[in-house]
Every structure is written in structure tokens, then in C-alpha cells.
């Protein structure tokens, strides 16, 4: 009974002490969810562009002209016109060379794949397969290469 009288005020004191300064009782404290989001990390970069190469950002509706060294983020798309080509260089150094008339999407990292080929031909290279990996997904298959293959 003694404890029953003491704990509610004690809990209140602990809780109030933990409130940020200037925060009234009716305000919700700022949790970690409200912390500023870290800037997105590019999954890859574009290089060695020839001919007409376009990019569509994940948040954009329109295609725009691509340029070399452009960072590529999750769900961005890149397309090449006939006769054009481009190189997508991933953060681990593996590269995907896009031939003409190709369309690829940069995959979300949580999907355990790196690039989705929707149309056309890509030539993938891992200079150091002992330490690099690359997963290429298409509408009908997934190709995994490299030493650290993430088996499903």
C-alpha cells in the first residue's frame, strides 16, 4: 500500500524530467522519427555516355537528358536510344554497360538486387568478383554474380 501511494508521483517526476526543455505537457515530445533524414546515398553513377541517354528520377514524371557522373538513386530509371550507350557504375565498383535501345531501373537496396533490366542488352563487369557482387533482375529471371552472392 505504501508503494502504491509512492509510485504514481515518482513516475510523473521521471517522465517530466525526461521532457525536452520548453516542452509543455500538452506537446508531444520530438521522437527519433522527427530527426532530419540523412541525405540519400547514390547507389551508382552514370559514365561514358554516348548518343541520347535519358534519366527519370524516382520522384519525377518526366524524362530528362542524362550526363556523365550523374548520381543514380533507388528507383531511378535510365534509357538509351538506338545507337546510344552508357555505363552505370555501382558503389562497389561493379559496372553495367547499357547498349542501345535499353531501359534499366536502379533497384531498391532492400530488394537484394542492384539493377532491373526492362528492355535491351547490358554487359556486366565485376573487376574483382572476389569482393564485389552484382545482381541483375529482369521480368523473368535474376542473375547473381560475384563472390559474395546473396543466396535467397
Amino acid at each position: 500500500m505504501v508503494n502504491g501511494r509512492r509510485w504514481p508521483p515518482l513516475l510523473l517526476v521521471v517522465a517530466l524530467a525526461a521532457l525536452p526543455p520548453g516542452c509543455t505537457a500538452d506537446e508531444k515530445p520530438r521522437g527519433p522519427a522527427e530527426a532530419p533524414l540523412p541525405p540519400p546515398v547514390p547507389r551508382a553513377h552514370l559514365r561514358d555516355l554516348t548518343g541520347e541517354v535519358q534519366i527519370k528520377r524516382a520522384i519525377a514524371d518526366e524524362w530528362s537528358a542524362a550526363r556523365s557522373e550523374l548520381p543514380l538513386y533507388e528507383n531511378d530509371k535510365v534509357r538509351t536510344e538506338a545507337g546510344a550507350s552508357a555505363q552505370v557504375v555501382f558503389a562497389n565498383g561493379s559496372t553495367v554497360h547499357l547498349g542501345g535501345d535499353s531501359l534499366v531501373g536502379i533497384a531498391e537496396s532492400k530488394l537484394r538486387t542492384d539493377v532491373t533490366v526492362l528492355r535491351g542488352r547490358v554487359d556486366a563487369t565485376l573487376e574483382k568478383p572476389a569482393t564485389q557482387s552484382l545482381s541483375v533482375t529482369t521480368p523473368s529471371a535474376t542473375v547473381r554474380a560475384g563472390r559474395k552472392i546473396e543466396f535467397q
Binding site: 542488352r121 542473375v143 547473381r144
Partner: protein, 282 residues
């Protein structure tokens, strides 16, 4: 008060343990010991699922099969045997580790190159392996491993095509001994190898591996890719040889190698040249 209670709840929920939760009195290092130990009391290491170990084994088996028969391959075979034994005893972490070692032995640093081509309708994918370690192709929960030069075509919504069956060697019969006259260079031949046709195969890869030779260093294995179902071997030194043939299909990939057959090349023991009335008779 309401806000304070909400905060208390939030504080309670936002506690993130800094180390993995250990159930009961098991020490944190116990899972690692399970993976490398031989007690067998707890068969499965949490960090290496059976499926992962199995696929690593598949990769290593393919690498061993494709490797030339040399000291490195034999060493890799030993590691692979260890890996298979670990897997049989459900020590998946150890199986994975040994399979990795076998794979690494046979895959010295070399760039990995492969091509993926998607048809305009998006329904067909063609994967071609060009160089370096094998790649895996997954479709409809089936997996195929492609080695150098192999290609596979996958239709959307269909399973990966099965590889062709292994060819059946025809001639010579196993352990056949050829007795032949040596050439001026001391080589013996010709010997023709033949095998039965395999449905869907358009070419065959034949490998002849010397096991012992009578004189000189062991020559390198002889390999040839043919569209025909027979191969007249180049002249070889006297000795014992083992050969296998693998079927290759453009749409289905490569078969496993055929069962190995052996043959022996022996020089005619003695050649007598006898002078007769009109010249020399052999």
C-alpha cells in the same frame, strides 16, 4: 499527465538492445561454436541456412567439374569432400566455409563478365556468361549455374530449361589398350573417340586428361569442341589417359560430363626391319 504517460511508453518502446538477445544461459558465442564444433547436439547454425550452404556447394561442384585436372583441382576436391561431409552432418556453417575455400582455390582473381539481354516484349531473357567465376540464374524458384561460355534463355513464367543429359561414350571401350607404331617424334595415334548423340545438343566438349605417361613430363589435358559425335585425337605419348565428353545446347546449357573412360596407348614393342630381295620389309 497524459503526455508524461505517453513519454513513458515511448521510452519503453524505443529501447534498442545493443547486443543480440541471449535466451536463457547460452553464452553469446555459442552459435559460432555450434557452427564449427562437432558435437552435433544443435545441428543448425543460425548464420548459415542449409539452402545457402547447398548453393555454395553447387557453385563449388560446378567449379571443380570445369577445372583442369591439376594439383589445384585435387586440392579443391579435398575441400569439397570436407564440405559435403559437413553438410551431410548438418554443419552448414562449416560446409559453407569449406565450399568457399574450394571455390576460391579454383577462381583466382579474374574479372567476371556476363551479358543479360531482354527482348522487346520483356518476356524473354537471355543470359550469357563470358568470363570469370560462374554466375547463377534464378527463375521460378529454380536455379542454374552458368560457367564460361554457357548461355540460357528464360521465358517469363516458365521454369529454367533442364540441362541436356550427359553423353554416353561409345568408343573405345573402357580401359582399351591401343598398340600403335610411334611416329618419328615418338607419338602414338590416331585414336578416335566417339559418343552417342544427345537431344538438343549442338556441340560437344571433349577433354582427354593424361594420367601417366611412359617418358617425359605429364602433358597438358587436350580439349576440343566439336559439332560431330567423334574426335580423332592428335598423336600422344605412350601412357594412360582418361576422357569425358560434355553436351552443350544453345537453349539448355551444358550437361554434366559423361562418365569417365580410360584408354592406354602403347608403342609396338619392337620393330624389325628385314632386308628382302627388293628392299626393306617392316
Amino acid at each position: 499527465m497524459k503526455a508524461a504517460l505517453w513519454l513513458s511508453a515511448w521510452m519503453g518502446l524505443s529501447v534498442v538492445p545493443s547486443a543480440p538477445t541471449v535466451v536463457g544461459h547460452e553464452p553469446p558465442e555459442a552459435p559460432a561454436r555450434r557452427g564449427s564444433g562437432g558435437s552435433g547436439a544443435t545441428p543448425k547454425a543460425p548464420s548459415a541456412e542449409p539452402q545457402t550452404a547447398l548453393k555454395a556447394l553447387e557453385m563449388s561442384r560446378a567449379a571443380v567439374k570445369a577445372a583442369p585436372n591439376d594439383a589445384r583441382r585435387r586440392e579443391a576436391e579435398d575441400r569439397l569432400k570436407d564440405a559435403e561431409a559437413h553438410f551431410q552432418q548438418a554443419r552448414y556453417a562449416d560446409a559453407l566455409h569449406k565450399a568457399d575455400e574450394a571455390w576460391a582455390l579454383l577462381n583466382p582473381p579474374q574479372p567476371s563478365l556476363f551479358t543479360v539481354e531482354v527482348g522487346h516484349d520483356g518476356g524473354t531473357t537471355t543470359v550469357t556468361h563470358r568470363q570469370g567465376p560462374p554466375v547463377t540464374v534464378e527463375a521460378q524458384h529454380a536455379t542454374r549455374i552458368l560457367a564460361k561460355g554457357e548461355s540460357v534463355r528464360v521465358q517469363q513464367g516458365t521454369v529454367l530449361p533442364e540441362p541436356p543429359s550427359a553423353p554416353q561414350p561409345v568408343q573405345p571401350t573402357d580401359k582399351y589398350r591401343f598398340t600403335l607404331k610411334p611416329s618419328a617424334q615418338g607419338l602414338l595415334g590416331p585414336v578416335t573417340l566417339s559418343w552417342a548423340a544427345v537431344e538438343g545438343a549442338t556441340r560437344y566438349e571433349v577433354e582427354v586428361v593424361p594420367e601417366t605417361v611412359e617418358a617425359g613430363p605429364l602433358p597438358s589435358p587436350v580439349r576440343e569442341v566439336l559439332g560431330a559425335r567423334q574426335w580423332a585425337l592428335p598423336a600422344l605419348p605412350a601412357g594412360r589417359y582418361r576422357w569425358t565428353v560434355t553436351a552443350v545446347s544453345p537453349g539448355q546449357g551444358r550437361s554434366v560430363p559423361s562418365t569417365a573412360r580410360r584408354f592406354e596407348l602403347a608403342a609396338d614393342a619392337l620393330e624389325l626391319n628385314i632386308k628382302v630381295k627388293d628392299g626393306w620389309q617392316k
